[in-house]
């Protein structure tokens, strides 16, 4: 019995860790605010906001939902499964008003994209490796 329980508990713990990876939000220096509330972040992430206060178009960058960070994004920001998020963005993006998020396999690629794209805001798991992008505080925190 122990043979099965221990691996199962290990798997469960792994899974729960992956879904609870700390997420960091970074933003391009053009348009993206220094800090956001969780509610505001969720609103932006759901495509409810098309432009930043300076008029810059909102561009969302996310880790792929199949990655650990992606799964954490699913649970912490969207509270939905990857499929539900995909459907959501399919419905939203096809209308053409708001672009769908851009998904990345690595945090480095994501950070690099955010640095280079005006109005871009990215969510990933891990430390910030570039100084050109600013960390957006969520509810006053670097990570959540």
């Amino acid at each position: 019995m122990k043979k099965f329980v221990l691996p199962f508990l290990f798997f469960i713990s792994i899974c729960s860790y992956s879904q609870n990876s700390p997420l960091t939000v970074i933003g391009n220096n053009n348009g993206v605010p220094e800090q956001l509330s969780m509610v505001a972040l969720k609103s932006v992430m759901n495509g409810n906001q098309a432009k930043w206060s300076n008029g810059q178009k909102v561009v969302i960058a996310l880790m792929k939902l199949t990655t650990d960070a992606g799964k954490s994004i699913c649970s912490k920001i969207y509270g939905k499964t990857a499929a539900e998020i995909t459907k959501h963005w399919l419905m939203v993006s096809m209308k053409g008003a708001i672009d769908a998020p851009v998904f990345f396999n690595t945090a480095a690629d994501l950070q690099n994209f955010v640095v280079k794209t005006s109005g871009a805001i990215g969510v990933f798991s891990g430390s910030v490796t570039t100084s050109s992008a600013k960390t957006v505080l969520i509810d006053g925190k670097n990570t959540f």
Binding site: L65, T86, L90, M91, M94, K95, G96, D99, P101
Partner: protein, 533 residues
């Protein structure tokens, strides 16, 4: 129903042209339309598949831009009615024992377009679906394209087909007219020429410039007509020669016929003369028979006259002697005897006179050829006696039993008495000849017997003359009435007796002369004379 070559050709060409027209106007556009639709459907399907593939890749990579790009691939299509991304979820029941597929349209372009997920292709729209499957979700791309452009292209094809059909029809009809003109005209010319040839015009010629079978036929026809004309001329020439030959032969034949006719006429005259002589001979033979009978009839009273005359001569001598003696009584007796003898002489003289007068009466009465009332019984009886005495005059030893049976109810009938008498005499003479011949055969207990009878029947009088001679052989009985047929030795018969008798009875009196005979037993000759002739 007569259908000319021209009509047949036109009908044939018309049928072919109509077939082509129908093909080009109906079948060809229909097939083109089908092909067009099939190709278009295939194209739409490929587009749907392309989008589905793009969606599959984009969803796997979570590259929504790629998906949008894939969707944009068809948005520029002017015929696009809609493009939809449909998500398919498997929905299980509470017990997780059964499931259903739930389809949701996640997105559509144009955005305001709404449709059901089960919309199908119809006349106005082509709907194609292409499935995709990713780890995140399964679904399909539904692409709806208008058929307007297809219909426009179909209309163009139909219009083009109409133009082509019209062109085919017109060209076909022109070809048909040309063909009918080029084929039927020479054929009709041939027919016309053939009719003229049939009517006897051998100068007919067909002019045909076509270098084909009809042209060859025209040449062959012309050659044939020339050959027929040659043959006809030759035949006419031969016919003329034949006619001339025939005419000359006819002329020669007519001459020969005339000559032969003349010869025949002469022969006929000779024959008629000979026949007249023969008839005369027969008459003379008959007269001989008659004369013998008459002589015997007259001889008898003459004998009485002569004997009583001789006796009276002797009595006159005795009377003279008795007168000289003065014996008055004897004289008176002798005168008495003389007177009696004289009475007998007168009686027998008158009898002879009566016989002669009767003969003369018969001969005179028939010389005119007019029939007169005659006592047939008396006539027959008279000729019976004449014939019998005639036979006895020729043969003193001849004797025969004569049986007569006359029907007294007959009375007088209208006949040529001399001719009928000659017939009766001829038949009786033959009968006496036959029985005499049989008697000379010394047959024991044979008594020559001749039976003569008359009988009145309903419309005719029958005279039957029978003998008990040897009869007539069966093989010659059919020939006895033929002229010049006789069984008597040469010189004793002319062979005309029965022939003339037949003519007298049948042709002269409208009666009948027949014979019943049995070989070895005897013969019956039956004369039937109409009662009122």
């Amino acid at each position: 129903m007569f259908i000319g070559v021209k009509t047949k050709i036109l009908l044939t060409v018309l049928a072919i042209v109509l077939l082509f027209t129908i093909f080009s106007f109906y079948y060809f556009p229909a097939q083109q339309g089908k092909t067009l639709l099939t190709n278009y459907k295939s194209e739409v399907q490929n587009q749907a598949k392309t989008i589905a593939l793009g969606a599959s890749i984009a969803l796997s990579e979570q590259n929504f831009k790629g998906l949008k790009t894939a969707m944009d691939f068809v948005k520029e299509n002017e015929e696009l009615k809609f493009v939809s991304l449909i998500q398919k979820d498997t929905v299980w029941n509470d017990g997780h024992t059964d499931f259903s597929i739930e389809e949701n349209i996640l997105s559509s372009f144009p955005e305001n377009h709404s449709h059901q997920t089960d919309i199908a292709t119809n006349d106005s729209i082509i709907v194609m679906k292409a499935p995709f499957s990713t780890d995140i979700m399964n679904g399909e791309i539904m692409l709806g394209v208008s058929t307007d452009s297809i219909n426009v292209r179909k209309r163009k094809i139909r219009f083009t087909a109409l133009l082509i059909s019209t062109a085919i029809f017109l060209v076909g009809m022109l070809i048909g007219l040309w063909l009918s003109r080029n084929i039927s005209h020479p054929v009709l010319a041939l027919r016309k020429a053939a009719k003229r040839v049939g009517e006897g015009d051998l100068t007919s010629e067909v002019k045909s410039s076509s270098k084909d079978e009809i042209g060859e036929l025209a040449i062959a026809f012309n050659n044939m007509v020339k050959d027929i004309k040659k043959l006809s001329d030759l035949t006419l020439h031969q016919e003329k020669e034949k006619q001339q030959l025939l005419a000359s032969q006819n002329e020669a034949l007519e001459k020969q016929v005339e000559e032969r006719t003349s010869e025949l006429r002469k022969s006929l005259e000779k024959l008629q003369s000979a026949q007249a002589q023969l008839v005369q001979a027969e008459k003379m033979a008959s007269l001989g028979e008659l004369t013998a009978g008459i002589a015997h009839e007259i001889q008898n009273p003459l004998n009485f006259v002569n004997n009583f005359s001789d006796l009276n001569t002797e009595l006159l001598d005795e009377l003279q002697e008795e007168l000289q003696k003065g014996n008055t009584e004897d004289v008176q007796q002798l005168i008495k005897d003389l007177r009696e003898n004289e009475t007998k002489i007168v009686f027998h003289g008158k009898r002879a006179d009566t016989i002669v007068k009767n003969m003369l009466q018969h001969s005179r009465s028939n010389s005119s050829g007019i029939k007169e009332e005659t006592d047939i019984n008396a006539l027959v009886d008279e000729y019976l006696r004449l014939a019998y005495h005639g036979q006895r005059a020729k043969n003193k030893s001849f004797n025969a039993i004569l049986k007569t049976d006359y029907d007294e109810s007959i009375g007088k009938i209208n006949i040529l008495s001399q001719d009928i008498g000659r017939v009766v005499l001829n038949l009786l003479t033959n009968a006496f000849y036959i029985v005499n011949e049989k008697k000379e055969m010394n047959i024991s207990q044979y008594d020559p017997t001749i039976s003569v009878s008359t009988k009145r029947k309903d419309n005719f009088v029958e005279i039957r003359i029978s003998d008990n001679g040897n009869g007539i052989p069966e093989k010659i009985v059919d020939k006895i009435f033929q002229p010049f047929f006789t069984t008597k030795p040469t010189g004793q018969g002319t062979g005309l007796g029965l022939s003339l008798s037949y003519d007298i009875i049948v042709k002269g009196h409208g009666g009948n002369l027949s014979v019943n005979t049995k070989e070895g037993e005897g013969t019956d000759f039956i004369i039937q004379l109409p009662y009122k002739s």
